[in-house]
């Protein structure tokens, strides 16, 4: 599995923690190194989590300003990227919450509906036929929380505990949120994909 949190090219863990401690003491070069290392990943994170490119640009800049200000609060015994993603998640989640894009649909009544057991063969075919671009497009159409959950898990590689904290749900509920999100994604992919395939003239 590709891990978005993989260590930086050309920067070892030791170098990172060294850069962090220098940045904490106000060294702007060290901060620049850290920034260049993580900016793209955070931008992509925001791009996946937020509705528009402009939002993602702004959010990325704001997140790094926040991180720089809060660098003192970072606990060096934990991975830096985990902390970074946590700040980013809170920021993006705040933006989404402020805009109240979470739909009423996301509340209990839909969540109680039982999920249909998938046919493995059908699911495998769907996965095989869809390109990552189609997946991204389908993702963008999901409700904010479903999308956020998938991004946190499969992009930021967060643990269930971290996701529970970020989204403000119980730990035991994270699996349900993720599974439900995957079902919504399959549905979106099925519709869009079917249309796309029909357009290309293949059944």
């Amino acid at each position: 599995m590709v891990d978005a949190r993989k260590r930086p090219e050309g920067m070892s863990a030791a170098e990172i923690s060294d850069a962090i401690s220098r940045a904490r003491s106000g060294n702007s070069d060290a901060w620049g190194e850290l920034y260049r290392r993580y900016a793209a990943a955070i931008f992509r994170f925001c791009r996946r989590a937020l509705p528009s490119r402009e939002d993602a640009e702004d959010a990325t800049a704001e997140i790094f300003i926040k991180v720089q200000e809060k660098l003192d609060q970072y606990d060096p015994s934990r991975p830096f990227s985990a902390w970074l993603y946590k700040v980013a998640t809170n920021h993006c989640w705040d933006i989404l919450r402020r805009r109240r894009v979470r739909q009423d649909l996301e509340t209990a009544d839909v969540e109680d509906l039982p999920l249909e057991h998938p046919d493995p063969g059908q699911l495998e075919r769907l996965v095989e036929e869809r390109t990552s671009q189609q997946v991204r497009r389908a993702l963008a159409s999901l409700p904010a929380r479903a999308r956020m959950a998938l991004v946190l898990r499969y992009y930021a590689d967060m643990s269930y505990d971290e996701i529970a904290e970020a989204l403000g749900v119980r730990r035991a509920f994270v699996g349900v949120v993720l599974l439900r999100a995957r079902h919504q994604l399959r549905e979106a992919l099925g519709q869009r994909g079917a249309a796309g395939l029909a357009a290309r003239g293949t059944p």
Binding site: V2, G32, V101, P118
Partner: protein, 534 residues
């Protein structure tokens, strides 16, 4: 053991199960093809998801290449304010002050230039009618609508600023409604003997006032004829205006032709191509004329201030006459009680029978080419600074939109097409002024269009800079390209003969790009991308 359900399979794959349960599961999967298939499908789905999310499908935007700094722009703002202050100061001392002086010398001292230009009467009534709650609500609703439409694509605060600004501008404009009687009809006649005890605002093709208007008369029309009486001011925007009747207030006229042949108790002002005052005309105060041709007969009790192409004075002027003109003829019946000063290219022709209280002051101006005057270069630098400032504000406040317009400007064909179309906007705006849509919308559109005209050069300049110096890598580089592009456009625009055409091309191109980008902004909201704001 029964088959695995999907939830358990997912938790198993993600390593979220307790060890004994996980072992149990993997043992079952060993022997069960169906569950193995489900696990495999889910795992492949996870992989596809991660791949889709992690894939570097688009480049990181240029502005994110360097670490952001809070308040990156103080220098830009200081520069902006400095330039703005210099520009405003030059404008004031160079243009407004001398005008004010001339105006007050010409007998318009009681009202300053601004109230003069905004024709105090209408403006003041505009404020009064602003209290009209319906209108206020309508404008607010419009503003909220605009806010709702724009907030997705623009940053929040910019949107608020723009919408608030527009609302304020709309409120500041003289609204049509209010206490006055407003009429939008094809042809309007106020019959003789009838009186309207109110202000009358007309938007019509032809208007004829044979009766009495006991208030101000504000008219937008093709042709206006006043045979009756207007007790307040007359403010007219028309092709042709004939005033044969009596006006007890002021006349403020913006028209192609003004023919005045009756008494006006106070002052008169005309922006017109042709102004004729016949021998029956009486003006109680002074007159200010901006016209291509003016033939002034009749009696005027106070000063005349004229900026006129060709002027002929035949009547009586009780005060001073200051005329800046191409040619001046003072006829045999002319009588001027004050001083007469003339500034122009040709020697004035003065009839020997004309009665002038003091000798004519003449200042002949020979038109040197602009290039020879140092002021020309200072103005060029100032104009450049103003456009640069404008571009800077656009880039800093709306970088996303700026990029969109820039992208649109690279598509020459559509940009030029749309630009040519958008050039026609003022016609629509004028129609809006005269029809039911109303004056505020019309003037608002016109102002926006003027802003768009002005901003056209910014986009074309950035494109030009980009073409010469390569795609920019950061905001600083974009600003640099803007600066260079503006210099080049300014130089090209100053070329003799072709300069005008180049300017026109720049305007059409930039305007088109702007329109295209705006159009795309309204189109490209991917409907399913985000649930609508609650």
């Amino acid at each position: 053991m029964t088959h695995l359900d999907e939830m358990t399979s997912l938790l198993y794959l993600e390593g979220q199960l307790e060890r004994p349960r996980a072992l149990e599961l993997s043992a079952h999967a060993e022997s069960c093809t169906e569950c193995r298939a489900l696990l495999r499908a889910l795992e492949r789905e996870s992989r596809l998801l991660t791949q889709a999310l992690v894939e570097e499908d688009e480049a990181v935007p240029a502005r994110l290449l360097a670490p952001p700094v809070r308040d990156t722009t103080p220098w830009a703002w200081i520069l902006s304010f400095g330039l703005a202050a210099a520009g405003a100061y030059t404008l004031w001392t160079g243009i407004v002050e001398p005008w004010r002086e001339q105006l007050s010398q010409a007998g318009f001292g009681e009202s300053n230039l601004l109230t003069m230009l905004l024709f105090r009467g209408a403006f003041w009534k505009g404020w009064e009618s602003m209290a009209n709650i319906v209108q206020f609500l309508a404008i607010t609703t419009l503003g909220l609508l605009a806010f709702g439409l724009l907030r997705r694509s623009w940053r929040r605060w910019t949107t608020i600023a723009v919408v608030m600004g527009t609302i304020l501008a709309a409120l500041a404009l003289p609204p049509t409604a209010g206490a006055a009687e407003t009429k939008h009809v094809h042809g309007y006649t106020l019959p003789a003997g009838e009186t309207i005890h109110n202000d009358l605002i007309l938007g019509t093709d032809t208007a004829r006032i044979d009766g009495t208007v006991d208030g101000d008369l504000i008219v937008f029309c093709r042709s206006l004829t006043i045979n009756g009486r207007v007790i307040g001011d007359v403010i007219s925007f028309a092709q042709i205006v004939r005033i044969n009747g009596q006006v007890d207030g002021n006349v403020r006229d913006f028209s192609n032709t003004l023919l005045l042949s009756g008494p006006v108790a106070k002052n008169a002002m005309a922006f017109a191509d042709r102004v004729e005052l016949d021998s029956k005309s009486r003006i109680g105060g002074g007159m200010m004329v901006f016209a291509g041709d003016a033939a002034l007969d009749g009696r005027m009790n106070r000063d005349l201030l004229g900026f006129i192409g060709r002027s002929v004075l035949n009547g009586f002027i009780g005060g001073n006459a200051r005329v800046t003109s191409d040619r001046l003829t003072i006829g045999p019946t002319a009588e001027i009680a004050g001083k007469v000063s003339y500034k122009g290219e040709h020697q004035p022709e003065v009839s020997p029978q004309a009665k002038l209280a003091s000798p004519l002051e003449v200042k002949i101006v020979t038109h040197r080419p602009d290039y020879a005057q140092p002021r020309y270069y200072w103005h060029q630098v100032l104009a450049w600074g103003a456009s640069f400032l404008f571009g800077l504000v656009v880039i800093l406040l709306m970088p996303g939109f700026f990029g969109e317009v820039l992208k649109a400007s690279r598509r020459y064909g559509p940009a030029f097409g749309f630009g040519a179309l958008t050039l026609l906007t003022p016609i629509l705006a004028l129609i809006a002024c005269v029809t039911i849509v109303g004056l505020a919308v019309g003037i608002g559109t016109l102002l926006l269009w003027l802003v768009a005209l002005y901003s056209a050069q910014v986009f074309v300049a950035t494109w030009l800079g980009e073409t010469l110096m390569g795609r920019p890598t950061g905001t600083g580089a974009v600003i640099g390209r803007l600066a260079v592009g503006l210099i080049l456009i300014r130089i090209a625009g100053a070329l003799p003969y072709v300069g005008g055409w180049i300017k026109l091309g720049v305007i059409i191109w930039g305007l088109g790009a702007l329109t295209l980008a705006l159009y795309r902004q309204t189109q490209s909201q991917p409907a399913p991308a985000m649930p609508a704001a609650a």
